[in-house]
């Protein structure tokens, strides 16, 4: 499968390997919408297990966005990973897997990564109007949106 995809996308697929028996692919973010579509339609990865992200603040392209996909037909899992810079937006994978809807909202909420074409991109776990994205590495563990807490909860501090 990897050789087939590599022929099609060439350098778009930077790395395809396994770690501890789990297959993963690191791809260029320009091939993302198309590649995910191909993975679903031609390679039968019909179940999107998870969409999540990682933050590396010291890197130029700060974020890793990861899709974990599963194929019922092949009983195989694969991770697709791409890197984007802060402020860049990825195309949404909701048209490919409707389940990505809430998962992408969570990534947006926690990391501030935007997904273009998402039907309703807004915060999901934190309240609307909260400032900051808590799973970024530069967000402290006891940090909070003081202003929001004072206005909405009527207390000095939530800590």
């Amino acid at each position: 499968m990897v050789t087939r995809l590599k022929q099609q996308y060439g350098t778009g697929i930077r790395e395809a390997s396994t770690y501890l028996g789990q297959a993963y692919m690191v791809v260029d973010f320009s091939v993302i919408p198309e590649l995910l579509q191909v993975l679903r339609d031609q390679e039968e990865f019909d179940y999107c297990v998870d969409v999540t992200a990682l933050h590396y603040p010291q890197r130029e392209k700060q974020f890793d966005v990861i899709w974990i996909l599963y194929s019922f037909a092949k009983n195989e899992r694969i991770r697709v990973k791409t890197m984007i810079a802060d402020g860049e937006a990825l195309p949404s994978s909701t048209p490919v897997w409707p389940t990505a809807n809430w998962l992408e909202r969570e990534v947006y909420d926690m990391f501030g990564i935007r997904f273009d074409g998402h039907p309703d991109l807004k915060r999901i776990l934190l309240p609307e109007g909260w400032k900051g994205h808590p799973l970024r590495k530069d967000y402290g563990i006891t940090q909070q949106d003081q202003e929001w807490v004072q206005i909405n909860l009527g207390i000095e501090s939530g800590q």
């Binding site: 501890l20 999540t52 899992r77």
Partner: protein
Amino acid sequence: MTDSAKYISHLELGERDETFLDSNELIINMGPQHPATHGVLRVILKLDGEKVLGTECVIGYLHRGVEKIAEHRTYTMFNPYVDRMDYVAAVSNGLGYCEAVEKLLNVEAPPRANYIRVILAELNRLASHMLWLGTHALDIGAMTPLFYTFRDREEILKIFEKYCGARLTTHAFRIGGCQYETYEGFERDVEKFLAFVPPKIDEYEELLTGNRIWLERTRGVGVISGKDCVALGVTGPVLRASGVKWDIRKAKPYAAYSDFDFEIPTGQNGDTYDRYLVRMREMRQSLRIIEQAVGKIPEGPIMARIPKVLKPPVGEIYHSIEAPKGELGYFVVSDGSTQPYRVRVRPPSFVNLQALDMMVRGALVADVVAVIGTLDIVLGEVDR
């Protein structure tokens, strides 16, 4: 209608006034404080009389930032936190986390530990399904099953308490195996439970399976097809009740599950009644697994040889298990230090709850309660 709107509606709450005079549309809040939402879940319902036109879930009321906490604790210190996600199936949570970190460390729990893990995890599945049955039946109006299931669940919690001292947030397993050897008489207690519980399950079924009110309230309610389940990432009993025969215990066996003989119950209609039947049959299958396991727990150590300070090599791993609610996955990233760089939890309740909108659209308000119950969500896990 666009494709995504087919699965999840997005209510435009601001536009109501324009159509106010010539329509019967009504927007009401269900929750966050509502007995039938199983926690603090708020569902905004758009209604036309009794009919549901669309819904929107507002979640996050129980958000504790578990994933953030993980980045500030060592691998071992984070272990008890996972119990607080799906607090009615804490053993499963711990099992998934321990196995994920073990994979990252490239160690395997010894066979004896794996057998103990399977027994406790299956007991926990029973406890979770019993709690689900009691509360789900109560939501629909049948009060008796609640008392029956809580009475019988108590027996499981007693075994947990004797094993590790805790009833709910058990922290039963450690990375590398189990902390505790089974107590004196563990096998006897489990065997006694195995003899005790099947007549009780018969009793629940007697109350509900052929009950006309139960049938009217559950048959054809909240129907979802297998294809839509897959598209929405729905897993666990909900997926199986829609006819997809998929269980991680079979598809990607973990712990000692490949040693045991059991079936994957499935349904055909994907309605609330089928989901009820699937879970009832799953309880009997769990008993079968425990029965096979308890008779032949191998001798040997219960802990693998692991260092005191855990420093997994740089890398990442995704490991998932079949929790009572569906696929519970852990994506753990190590940067070589003592603390995880990131722990991502793939919670089954969160993903399954997404299907609520599709399942209740076009149904009656009363069915919303039935469908929330049948999805078997735990808000601690939805919000983490």
